[in-house]
Symmetry: C2
Subunit: 506 residues, 2 copies
């Protein structure tokens, strides 16, 4: 029935995917090298090589030969002549190709220039608390994104097109419903906690732990998560990230603050979640277009799951404390698991998204979403953003914004051209609660696994339901097949409500 | 007169060189990543990407379009229509292309398999002191190299072809003359020293210096050599190497032994010499085929110059001691520059080439050269190598070889397919003495520069005469234009004779 894998066109298709994989892999290596070890003066040469790789990726994806290949394989697929994996590769690649072809070359080139320039302006503007110099770029970026959205799908609202790019199947209606539910739960809860919160951070949270010891703790935690360190490199950087390079090669980075050891702990648990997802995609998809995580939201759901649903789980405080005691003798002797859990689960509004706790985090995203919507709807211009930011921060977090550096200039996303991306962070945090529920129904005792410091059952579920599928399924399909129902924010709201009422005895 | 650089073919030629440079750069990044940080399980994916890059490099170099381009540009060059730099690029690229086209694809593929397999066998054979398992591979490698040499130039002796590949212009006759002169000077001198040598290594040479301090010393020495650390990365590896990646990006690696701080010192001076050569190629050659060092021998002459002619110079002991005293307070307080110079210039035969001192080093190369010649001439088979090794080690170094692990299995070169490479190491050591003489005639006071720890005059000479030329000139032309005469081993022999008679008061 199915076309043998030795058909010339199928062989060409696999070869093309291998060549595209090579460029993705090399780009990741260059990025990692640039963030970790490359000397500052090497930046121009790296940009040159990155440019060549991007050009070649585009040329390989969009060539007439590649278009003819897709046409021929589509006919074969419709005739039922392709094996299942090749048919899935075709569906994913054809969409990549369609979207790459949709944007005219001059649009792509001017976009690269605009965002690269805007990014440089943002760095200076943030340092100078000077939104006004960035504002014209933000207006131009929004205009360009609306134009690009019309190339991608002229029948849809432009912001919906971008929401869908970062998380397939999502649109304004879906996010409106999600955020309104989150707002109803979280905003009053945050305000209620603030009224009762007179706690001070226990001193063990700021104990001095040397870099070399923290790196060892990072390794311990990655192993506890279930990462094979023979297939994972760990490095220090300014802004932590992680990446899956290839079969047997994932990378996790961290930033060490010697007086804030738990920053490293949860940052590594987070990045480890991204890395273990990449490491566990079905090896049969290696070197194909299916070989990575499927979306920003699903990726973030893995990192947040290990950071919060596991890392800040009441039952996990005990194995976490064991790691700390083993690596830093003396310092944590008198700390109880309960005290550690309480100290690592304080909920307190702050101005900076990157430092936000589990409860207030979605509020940071919500205010960005509100502003992005207004910019795309023409209800606001970039010049209005600082005032909107102050007003929404007051509403959601109950805080005054002292300056734009600690307000609308704090993130790099907008100047980099990413609109519609932030919402996927909140969604990623929310998916986890629904996983927890599904795991429970599937007989996985997450609390017991946490208490034992033996997460194999949790990994087993995630591998089977999420990780192994790579890019085979878009987020909505993946969630529904994993959890037996479409995404439902109720799980998340219930989880937050329960956890933080418990934490603050409300 | 000369063809404007905007001629379509010239633009295509520059574009092709840029694409080839990108592949060379990416291969270097992959190599560095693999040696420094990549996890062990990532090796297969790296090999996959390396394979794609090598294939693409070959395809770009040898395509019909690239051949037509060379033909057209050659006509333009002959008509005097190319500017000087483009004409030089053409000459260098045309030779690269000619040599890449000479080898049939199946020869290249079977060679890659053979050497990769032989290399794996060598690792085990060395650990097991088992030359017999490697021997058949060595015979096959020599046969393959003779066949390949006939593709490259069927009119020449095969070993001459390979000597020329590693150092243009060299052949057996030239090396015979060189080594016979070295032998006459060095062998009796080594034997004479051995009769008078009853010194013990002073204890400060084995003082414990922590890794982090040694890395700081490495940075100090690279800066003393004149490397801009904004354009140089330093990393730790098992087997130190260095590379020039791009404008503003060179890499130096080292291996730290905490009880042998001077191993790091001279290793870094050595690798720094390679790196500073790459960093100082004329920036006008960036992204072209001229943008790197010209040959193995010239490269080694730069590393050996900074390691030995500078690093082990009598006058340099004082600034070197300053660095050590500054970074390791207390340990070297009572050491005099004279004592340091004496301790870092002991000449004592040993079995291992990599550990050899300045005087005995060329003897290690000589014995390898003798054996390579015999293998290529059919006067010996691989099975005869261990006995030859023992006999030559006795003759040249006066030592018994206890086992093949410390004898003919010590180096990776032969199992990697490199025959004709070793001699360029000795030549590289020898060029330096002729540079010293030429510098003196050109008014550069090397001893004064060493004593002051201010090497700018030395760098100025090397930059002007050697570094800036990149691949524009082959070794013989470069030496002759730098030193005003062809290479002459007399400078080297005189230098060694003088230095070590002084050191041992003979």
């Amino acid at each position: 029935m199915s076309k043998p894998a030795t058909t010339p066109t199928v062989i060409d298709f696999k070869h093309l995917q291998r060549n595209l994989w090579t460029r993705k892999y090399l780009t990741s290596i260059l990025d990692f090298d640039g963030e970790t070890v490359a000397p500052p003066l090497g930046a121009a040469a790296r940009a040159e090589a990155m440019g060549v790789l991007a050009e070649e990726e585009h040329a390989l994806t969009c060539s007439q030969a590649a278009q003819d290949m897709v046409a021929e394989l589509t006919r074969a697929a419709e005739a039922g002549e392709l094996d299942e994996q090749t048919a899935t590769e075709l569906a994913v690649f054809a969409r990549d190709q369609r979207e790459a072809l949709a944007l005219p070359a001059d649009e792509v080139a001017s976009w690269a220039r605009l965002t690269s320039e805007a990014n440089a302006v943002w760095h200076k503007a943030k340092a100078d608390n000077d939104w006004a110099t960035l504002a014209p770029y933000i207006d131009r970026i929004v205009e360009a994104l609306k134009r690009q959205a019309s190339y991608l799908d002229s029948t849809r609202d432009p912001y919906d097109v971008w929401l869908d790019q970062y998380e397939r199947g999502m649109d304004t209606a879906a996010y409106d419903a999600f955020f309104s539910q989150v707002k109803e739960t979280v905003v009053p809860l945050v305000h209620e906690i603030a009224e009762h919160d007179h706690e001070e951070l226990p001193s063990f949270m700021t104990a001095h732990v040397p870099s070399s010891v923290q790196l060892q703790i990072a390794r311990d935690l990655l192993e506890l998560e279930g990462i094979d360190m023979e297939g994972c490199a760990l490095a220090c950087v300014e802004h932590p990230f992680s990446d899956g390079f290839a079969p047997g090669d994932v990378r996790v980075t961290t930033h060490i603050y010697e007086n804030d050891a738990f920053n490293n702990v949860f940052s590594v648990m987070h990045e480890g979640g991204h890395a273990i997802y990449e490491a566990n995609v079905d090896p049969a998809y290696a070197y194909t277009c299916l070989s990575s995580g499927t979306s920003m939201g699903i990726h973030e759901s893995q990192s947040r799951f290990f950071e919060n649903y596991i890392g800040r789980n009441h039952a996990f405080a005990s194995p976490l404390l064991d790691v700390m005691r083993k690596r830093v003798p003396g310092v944590y002797t008198d700390v109880t698991p309960e005290a550690l859990w309480r100290a690592t689960n304080m909920a307190r509004p702050g101005l900076i998204r990157m430092d936000a706790d589990e409860l207030t985090y979605p509020l940071h995203i919500m205010l960005r979403y509100d502003i992005e919507r207004m910019l795309f709807a023409g209800e606001a211009k970039a010049a209005d953003v600082p005032a909107l930011w102050r007003s929404l921060t007051k509403d959601y977090l109950g805080l005054e914004v002292p300056d734009d550096t600690h307000g609308c200039l704090q993130d790099t996303h907008w100047s980099g051209g990413s609109f519609g991306y932030f919402p996927s962070y909140a969604l990623g945090s929310a998916y986890g609660a629904q996983y927890l529920d599904a795991m429970k129904r599937d007989g996985v005792d997450v609390d017991a696994a946490c208490a034992a410091g033996e997460l194999a059952p949790v990994r087993g579920w995630l591998r089977e339901k999420i990780w192994r599928w790579g890019r085979c399924k878009d987020a909505p399909e993946l969630i529904e097949s994993a959890c037996g129902a479409p995404f439902d924010a109720t799980f998340y709201c219930t989880y937050l409500e329960r956890k933080f009422r418990d934490r603050y005895s409300l």
